[in-house]
Subunit: 345 residues, 2 copies
DNA sequence: TTTAGCACTCTATGCCCTCGAGTGCTAAAA
DNA sequence: TTTTAGCACTCGAGGGCATAGAGTGCTAAA
């Protein structure tokens, strides 16, 4: 679908996004031709826009308005951006300098990282402190309760007990549940979250479902232990025109402020990922009602065996993704170095 | 002026404030009589309202609307409230418990304090970390520049140099300035901020002006050193109806987020005060443009010679002052105890 | 001194209208 | 076949206008 775009269509999609990110206004064909001195007529642009709209990459707010990028459009844009852009050298140096001229103090690093992210991306930023110990899986039980509802009891090496309800696609006997629990307990004995993810290949469908729940629970436990969350630039988001006169922004920022929501968010997204990669969550991805109007760029930093944390920015969907992604990636790299330097080899 | 209110006028003022704080709607006479089953007619209430409006304690948003409290009205209300209300015993215990069951960790205390303040008052909260060392005055110079403009150079015991411009009410010769500088230098040698304030009685008018500037400068230096600022509940403010569809809230919250603004605010208000007292700043008090639509309840905590910090809440002018003040006072007392227990005797 | 009665004021709300940016389509031009 | 000029059409933003209702201030009676 999306891969079959002509070069001209890609150009126009890029220009529409570029323009809309700046102006926050629907982009018209005429407007586009003039602004960029395009070598074609507005009618041609309109025709291309029709294709792009049919492909689902552009939207019309109403019949007689210009186009704005759809969430799908942003995703396509972001996917083609992957890894390409780097923060300007001078900016990199300025930021590095700030970190390295600081004494060794994790709290200061966190605050500085949050501040840098917020200022560079003009969005809200969040940084969680790195935490050295990851929970290790020790034991699990699955208990059939009623129909497809199953209670999972999870014990970690530290002795903490976690409970969670799981709804299966179809009823399963207690015998089968015990079998699954034993199988996973045997395989996953002593595993940290990273290792758990690697087990998926050895399991059947039902077991994979259970494993994902375990990963989420342990991830949440890790996030909890991570403790401190550093926020900055919340007011940047409020300054965006799309949020004047609605409480969409408040609801999104509340996710950052409330531990429980944030833990859920982090557990389900970035904790599933490896360190290094940058993850982009556009418009809540249909899952998070409160995040429908915003996008989040997240990355993990640190060193898996040693200590890891999460950082990212939150802004309107109409976000300058290039800059946001490169900033997040750069700061994550920087913090990773600092963590490794100070803790590890 | 305000002291000459009849009991009935005080009652009506209280009711109007009580009602307006809840509904955020101008309060009409009829409405008030019905809601509180008053033993008088709406016409009587209207007559009293006219008096209160003439006294400047109530306002009419427009000719044919109900009344809302003026800032003066809130001030009167708050002044008559001083010290009276206490947080319910059960609430006090709940909060204390949370603090005392925590291990000794200042950062955790700060976060918990910010969280408690935000939740109890449903406003934004701020807490600055206690810092043990206060700057000590060492030396000062006053240099006449042009007309009534005077440059003050201030040296603290640590060797930091602070400069600040001072505008005098009338021109003063360099000779007199030097005399003032010498006098203050002599008296204030080695003094911390608290001791400086005690010197006011020994000084003449001009010298008091200069001293206040010194106190502010040193206070700002202290605030700077204090470093960490903990915020919570910023989104609570955004949920207030008076802020939907304007960026007044954003501008006020920005004051909390931006170090420089916050330092200015704290230096000029609460740092002038003694530990223990709660200070209420209503509608920016005509000084802070960005705070025109909000009120702030602040207190210092800690022990003057040992370590002090600042905490408070920020909400709409239409704030439940009783609850806010008692919460701030209680948490300040609690943190003071913790600081004294852990650092001092 | 209090209260009923009443004319008056002003906002909020809904409706209608116009204006204009932008569209989609068609037919001609390249 | 592709591009473009031309044109009728659509729809939201925004201004003007009338209406409804809450609340006032004043006057005169209780």
């Amino acid at each position: 679908m999306s891969h079959e775009l002509t070069d001209r269509q890609k150009l126009i999609l890029n220009l529409v996004i570029h323009e809309y990110v700046q102006t926050a206004q629907p982009v018209g064909s005429q407007n586009l031709v003039e602004r960029f001195s395009l070598d074609m007529s507005s009618a041609t642009v309109r025709n291309e826009m029709v294709s792009l709209t049919e492909s689902g990459l552009l939207r019309q707010p109403h019949t007689s308005a210009g186009r704005i990028p759809s969430e799908e459009g942003y995703r396509y844009f972001v996917s083609r951006l992957a890894g390409s852009a780097e923060l300007p050298q001078t900016t990199q140096r300025t930021i590095s300098h700030q970190f390295y001229q600081m004494r060794y103090d994790v709290e200061q690093w966190m605050r500085l990282a949050a501040s840098v992210l917020a200022h560079q991306s003009r969005s809200a930023s969040l940084v969680t402190a790195p935490h050295p110990e990851q929970a290790r899986f020790k034991h699990m039980e699955l208990i059939s309760t009623r129909g497809r509802q199953v209670l999972m009891v999870l014990v970690t090496a530290g002795g903490e007990i976690h409970q969670s309800m799981l709804t299966l696609p179809e009823p399963v006997t207690q015998g089968r549940l015990s079998q699954v629990a034993n199988h996973i307990t045997e395989l996953a004995q002593g595993c940290q979250i990273e290792a758990l993810k690697g087990l998926r290949a050895k399991l059947d469908a039902l077991e994979v479902d259970v494993l994902d729940l375990i990963v989420r629970e342990i991830g949440q436990a890790d996030a909890l232990k991570a403790g401190e969350v550093y926020l900055d630039g919340l007011t940047n988001v409020l300054a965006e025109p799309e949020f004047s006169g609605s409480d969409e922004a408040r609801r999104a920022l509340k996710v950052l402020e409330e531990r429980s929501m944030l833990e859920d968010l982090l557990a389900r997204t970035v904790l599933m990922n490896d360190v290094g990669g940058v993850q982009v969550l556009i418009g809540g991805e249909g899952t998070w009602e409160d995040l429908r109007q915003v996008s989040i760029v997240l990355a993990r930093y640190g060193s898996p065996g040693l200590a890891t944390g999460t950082l990212g920015v939150l802004g309107p969907i109409r976000m300058p993704y290039g800059r946001a992604i490169s900033t997040v990636r750069f700061v994550a790299g920087l913090l990773s170095d600092l963590v490794v330097d100070s803790l590890g080899g």
